[in-house]
């Protein structure tokens, strides 16, 4: 069963430096690096754990959109 999603993943490409930390440690493989920046590969799999936001050194990805 899918959880009810209320916080959408937001990406701010201008801040992303493409380190890949969020991609590597996302437990659901939601993210990927495209053209040296983070990109959403599969939003439907996102469980909104917030680990990408927790470990992004550049504040380029976060939960908070509607």
């Amino acid at each position: 069963m899918k959880e009810i999603k209320n916080d959408k993943l937001i990406i701010e490409k201008n801040l992303c430096k493409g380190c890949g930390i969020c991609v590597a440690f996302c437990p659901k493989n939601v993210l990927e690096i495209k053209d040296k920046k983070v990109s959403i590969r599969d939003l439907d799999s996102c469980i909104q754990c917030g680990l990408c936001e927790l470990r992004c050194p550049d504040y380029a990805i976060y939960l908070g959109g509607k």
């Binding site: 937001i10 701010e12 201008n14 801040l15 430096k17 493409g18 380190c19 890949g20 930390i21 991609v23 590597a24 440690f25 936001e53 927790l54 470990r55 992004c56 050194p57 550049d58 504040y59 976060y62 939960l63 908070g64």
Partner: protein, 269 residues
């Protein structure tokens, strides 16, 4: 656009920050701010003091009272600030070089006095800002520009140092375990005394490159694999302990705080 948290506590016009791709400093800094947010503290009641180094640039990104001081002297400035206004929550941000090399003496005496300052060390095992010289936290044998064949010094265990000098709250975490940094900073701020919080972070540009540690993801993975919670660490054999780093709350004790002792002394006059 940035998250509500970053928008509330950062000088967002200064972003993007100067730190390199994959540098862990931004993770530690967000964790500090998250801890402050969790505690519900008023921004004006906080003063963040830093020394000199990549990590010490952190204070410039924060929308609190902030002071970017001189190399190694953040704790000396912070002591003066705490004395002049003991109601402030004083937080020191410092690098391993800033804190344990040039600033080592300030560290031991701030800890010895048990002054109510929360010190967060961004330990990246190297002098980042000046191009990769080895620091007192560079593991024996590891390389730096000043140790091209490997460092022959023994590295400090910064937490043991702070504990022995008199700190009343001592903890360690890593940028992989950033939730632990948040919790520890909360506890450190709540502790009425000298709190020493070591965060193990990464410098892919200098420490990583000089020591063939791979990219940022490899380095974070290494921190994930080598850090062990203190309760599990204590159960390991000496052999198993060799390649592991204990994290968690390592030490707590009760001792009267310095500015309070000073205030009660002043009443005798």
């Amino acid at each position: 656009m940035v998250s509500k948290l970053i928008d509330k506590y950062y000088r967002t016009d200064r972003l993007p920050h100067i730190w390199c791709t994959g540098c862990g400093n931004g993770i530690v800094l967000r964790s500090i701010v998250k801890a402050i947010d969790n505690l519900g503290l008023n921004k004006d009641d906080i003063c963040v003091v830093s020394g000199i180094g990549c990590s010490s640039r952190a204070s410039g990104y924060l929308d609190f009272n902030t002071v970017h001081t001189t190399h190694g002297r953040a704790l000396a400035f912070a002591t003066g600030i705490k004395f002049s206004n003991p109601n402030l929550h004083v937080i020191v941000i410092t690098g391993d070089g800033d804190c344990a090399a040039i600033g080592g003496n300030h560290l031991i005496h701030a800890a010895r006095r048990n002054i109510d300052i929360t010190t967060v060390v961004f330990n990246n095992n190297i002098y980042g800002m000046t191009g990769g010289q080895y620091s007192p936290a560079t593991p024996t044998g590891d390389k730096g520009t000043t140790a091209p064949y490997g460092n022959i010094d023994y590295n400090f265990d910064l937490c043991e140092l702070a504990k022995a000098a008199g700190a009343t709250y001592v903890s360690r975490s890593t940028i992989y375990a950033a939730n632990m940094i948040i919790k520890q900073v909360e506890e450190g701020i709540k502790n009425k005394g000298f709190s020493f919080i070591e965060t193990l972070t990464i410098c892919p540009t200098y420490y990583g490159r000089k020591n063939s540690k791979g990219n940022a993801v490899d380095m974070v993975t290494h921190l994930k694999d080598s850090a062990v919670n203190i309760s599990a660490y204590e159960k390991l054999s000496e052999e198993e302990k060799a390649n592991r780093i204990p994290i968690g709350e390592l030490y707590k004790r009760n001792r009267p705080e310095y500015t309070e002792k000073y205030e009660s002394m002043m009443k005798l006059f």
